[in-house]
Amino acid sequence: MRSWKPLKSVISPVRAVVDTSFWIDAWRGDLDEAEKHRIAELWRHGGGVLPQIVWLELLVGLRSPEERAHLMDLKAVSQWEPLSEADGMAAEKLAALLRKKGVVLAASDLLVLTVAHRLGLPLLHHDEDFTRALKLPDFAPQRD
């Protein structure tokens, strides 16, 4: 089975994969000041990675034309990351690995985590399931 390299710290580089939960809380007003600053920097420098599955989740959750307009802006300023067959297979392996450790992630979360690992980038999220997975020894974030 493929070994999983630890994710880098969520406070380091200019690029980061951003999960649906983080975007939603940004728009709902549930980010702290440091997180607001981080997201503003990602937008300004085009360093936010938008995995295809995150885009799909956000589209599914739309409730208004205004939300849709901001979603289009988000796509325009982000680095688009399509999913591949290899991502699907890696997510399957990740699911098995996590299940052995007692953590069950939703399919969409598995794909987001797979993309973050493939790119070797930190994952910004507001999701307890990710927190549980990332607390496991093999998935602990690196500190700079």
Partner: protein, 74 residues
């Protein structure tokens, strides 16, 4: 779209050199893309916290979570 423009040649050449692009069309396209991106960033910065009624992540994941809970219960 084809069009005739009256623009500062020095600026065009400087931008082409700075960004390593080989045609005027390419550098104008790049400039427009960057202008639009900048505007999108401004709109996004103004959108933080503006949608308190947006569907939460828990609501979004609820159908799949129910499925996972059932699967684990089997």
């Amino acid at each position: 779209m084809k069009m005739t423009l009256d623009i500062d040649a020095k600026k065009v050449e400087e931008a082409m050199a700075e960004y390593g692009v080989e045609t005027k069309t390419e550098v104008i396209d790049l400039a427009l893309t960057e202008l639009l991106r900048k505007k999108a960033v401004e709109r996004l910065l103004g959108s933080i916290g503006k949608f308190p009624a947006m569907m939460t992540n828990a609501e979004l994941e609820a159908p799949e979570k129910r499925h996972l809970t059932r699967a684990r219960g089997r």
